[in-house]
């Protein structure tokens, strides 16, 4: 069943004319004919879970906004920067009005009067298309004062970011939208109470909001019949990495993971096997080929110790050393850490350094325990989950591929001993005083030192 991707490549779908011809903005008319509370009830009934990563129910989040006549905001998070995620890009580029309609309905349900789309700066084409679509919607009276004769008032501004993964974190996004450095804020207060400009703010992902018109069209109850329990609806899954047909696929939640990776995306190249896969972007703990029969939905993946996240599957085949994957992940988070919280700033930095030591043949298997303990000390100790997003997959990689890491350490160490002179170890003191394991070997013979 296709909702978001229904005939998505129809030429001109990004224009109002084609979108309206296909029945666009009918859901908005329907919603505006209902009371705000009824629209909210439909969203609650649909049990639509956020598609950006956290999987929190959209209707519930909208219901947290306080009542009253103050300025309230709806922010669409289009700062899609998670490695492996590219669904929002395709949704915005090909069907911008679907998103805009979802924003207008979402804003009606949550009684917000100003809205923003925060697009990452790299998505220049998509932001241009959104700009054009917003102008069309304004001209047609779908945005502005007294929308379609109702009491709904809404402005919509497309805001371009300037390149920072952290701005996908909701409070960092708000700071960035306020014209500051994108540093996450302490929670509580949550954005629903004090968000953008300290006003009540609802923040939702592009895909979540794009689904809203379909929920209103079908009705919340009907929507829950798609998918499985606790994971209602369809989901756009971005499959990338070592697969034959990388791309976006709209699935019903609860599909078998193997059917997505092998059936839709064609599986790994000929003669290769899957070594590991990220089920929900680079920040989800990795799974192995043994987990391919898991149902692809929020609860099943959570039970398996990982998460659905943004629905971005990255497949890594058996030709790639796991340490290369670990290094790429760690370097990404080191680069993107905003530096506000020490565990994340230092933890990501030291994780990269330790992985490089492993590669340079300067590490011992003991370093794997230290590496794992660094990850444990990051998790839960920062204002946002950026550090956790590195720590969780790294921890899972070390736990699941320990033998490969150890073999790599040994091989790199042997290579290192052959090519470079190793300084004699310093005397060990303190808790390490008694340690004289195999890694404090005598220096290699003179002729081997080159």
């Amino acid at each position: 069943m296709k909702l978001l991707f229904e005939n998505v490549d129809e030429p001109g779908l990004n224009t109002l004319e084609v979108y309206e011809r296909r029945g666009g903005y009918r859901s908005l008319r329907k919603a505006l004919g209902m009371t705000r509370d009824d629209v909210l009830s439909e969203l609650l009934a649909s049990a639509l879970r956020g598609r950006g990563g956290a999987g929190f129910q959209m209707g519930k989040k909208a219901s947290f906004l306080p009542k009253g006549s103050m300025d309230k905001y709806l922010v669409c998070n289009a700062d899609e920067s998670e490695p492996g995620a590219f669904k929002d890009r395709e949704l915005m580029q090909k069907n911008p009005h679907q998103l805009i309609e979802g924003i207008i309905i979402g804003a009606y349900a949550a009684s917000t009067n100003r809205s923003f789309i925060f697009v990452r700066g790299e998505y220049a084409l998509q932001a241009d298309i959104l700009d054009a679509a917003v102008a069309e919607a304004e001209a047609a009276g779908y945005l502005g004062e007294r929308i379609l004769g109702s009491d709904h008032v809404l402005s919509l501004v497309v805001h371009r970011g300037a390149g920072a993964y952290i701005c996908g974190e909701e409070t960092a996004l708000l700071d960035s939208l306020e014209g500051k450095r994108g540093n996450p804020r302490l929670k509580p207060p949550f954005p629903a109470n004090a968000g953008l400009y300290q006003g009540p703010t609802l923040i939702n992902n592009v895909e979540t909001l794009s689904t809203v018109p379909h929920i209103i069209r079908l009705g919340g109850e009907e929507y829950t019949r798609i998918g499985v329990e606790n994971s209602a609806g369809t989901k756009v899954v971005s499959v990338s990495g070592n697969v034959q047909r990388p791309g976006n696929y709209e699935i019903e939640l609860g599909m078998r993971s193997r059917d997505i990776i092998y059936g839709l995306a064609g599986g790994p190249p000929e003669g290769r096997e899957i070594k590991l896969w990220f089920p929900g972007g680079s920040s989800s703990p990795v799974l192995t080929a043994d987990d391919l029969d898991l149902s692809y939905d929020f609860d099943t993946l959570a039970k398996a110790g990982t998460m659905l996240g943004s629905g971005s599957i990255i497949v890594v085949d058996d030709s790639i050393p796991v340490i290369e994957v670990a290094k790429k992940v760690a370097k990404f988070y080191r680069h993107e850490s905003c530096g506000k919280c020490t565990p994340c700033r230092e933890g990501t930095n030291w994780t990269v350094k330790m992985l490089e030591r492993i590669d340079n043949g300067e590490a011992t298997p003991m370093d794997l325990d230290i590496l794992a303990s660094v990850q444990e000390q990051i998790i839960g100790n920062c204002l946002c989950v950026l550090g956790d997003s590195m720590a969780m997959p790294l921890g899972a990689m070390v736990a699941k591929f320990r033998e490969e890491f150890e073999a790599h350490i040994e091989a790199a160490r042997e290579k290192n001993l052959k090519t470079t002179a190793v300084p004699d170890p310093l005397p060990l003191a303190g808790v390490n005083a008694g340690f004289a394991g195999p890694y404090h070997r005598p220096a290699p013979a003179e002729e081997a030192r080159v």
Binding site: E10, S81, G121, D128, A162, G241, G247, F332
Partner: protein, 306 residues
Amino acid sequence: VSAPQLDPDPDALAASVRRYSHGSRVPGWDDAVDLDKDPAAIPDPATTPVPDDLRAHIEALMARYPDRRSAAIPGLAAAQRLHGYCSPEAIDQVACVMRLTPGYLVAVATFYDMFYTEPKGAHDVYVCTNISCSLRGGDELYDAMLEAAEDRADLHVQEFECLGACDLAPMASVDGIYVGPLEIDDARRLVDDLEAGRPVLEEKQLRYRRVADPEANREEWEVDSHPPASPAPRAATPVMDPEAAAAGPAMEGVDAPDEGAGPDPIAPREQEEAGEEQARPEDYDEHPAPSAGPDAPASPPKEDRA
């Protein structure tokens, strides 16, 4: 195992630890500041010439938000498009219009990957080397791109984190135009296309790519008929003669937004229509962009700077 003793000479030990100026072990911690100076105040409009278009654009941006400070990032982006990078002069101009201190804007500019406080080539070529791209040859592509652009000072090749186009892997973004999947040889073609002012890697532009999901489309649709995007010639670092600027309009193409006068370096570019006479100014209602002729002159070339 007998371990050697530590060098007992504390001076020798201290000398072996590298230190930078001011005794720090962290390089560059004081690069941005002259410690003897007071922090810069909000620039005085009387002594800070700002090109009219840039001022109008930033003022329009400020009016879009409940708090004018929200225009800092789009304002800096506009100044960077005009000046080539966030030069001290560019920062001063934005600070002057927005009534913020330059220090505040430098703090913002240095946070984001797409702002540059050092001079750089006019064309940005971002090569993604994150996981999905590197699994398919992104690192090799980056090396090839560096090699192809080696003697091209106008190209700014940068290794970039995930650009959100893993389905095109390995891919690159050329002035915001996504192209992929790329072969190693495409690096050379990309540079040639840029040099010739042609649309970059026409058939590999993201715009023409169909969704991968085979069941999404129930009909065979025609291919998107938009012309391929070519990177607009950007303003290199412009001449800003303070006297001339104070006396009147300073910049070619900025002060004369007539038909075909030149691409507006301030307004966001309309990629899909660059090089075509179909610019849709209504996309930027606050700030209509003049249509960009294919041969329209860019801002004065760098040589004029002397």
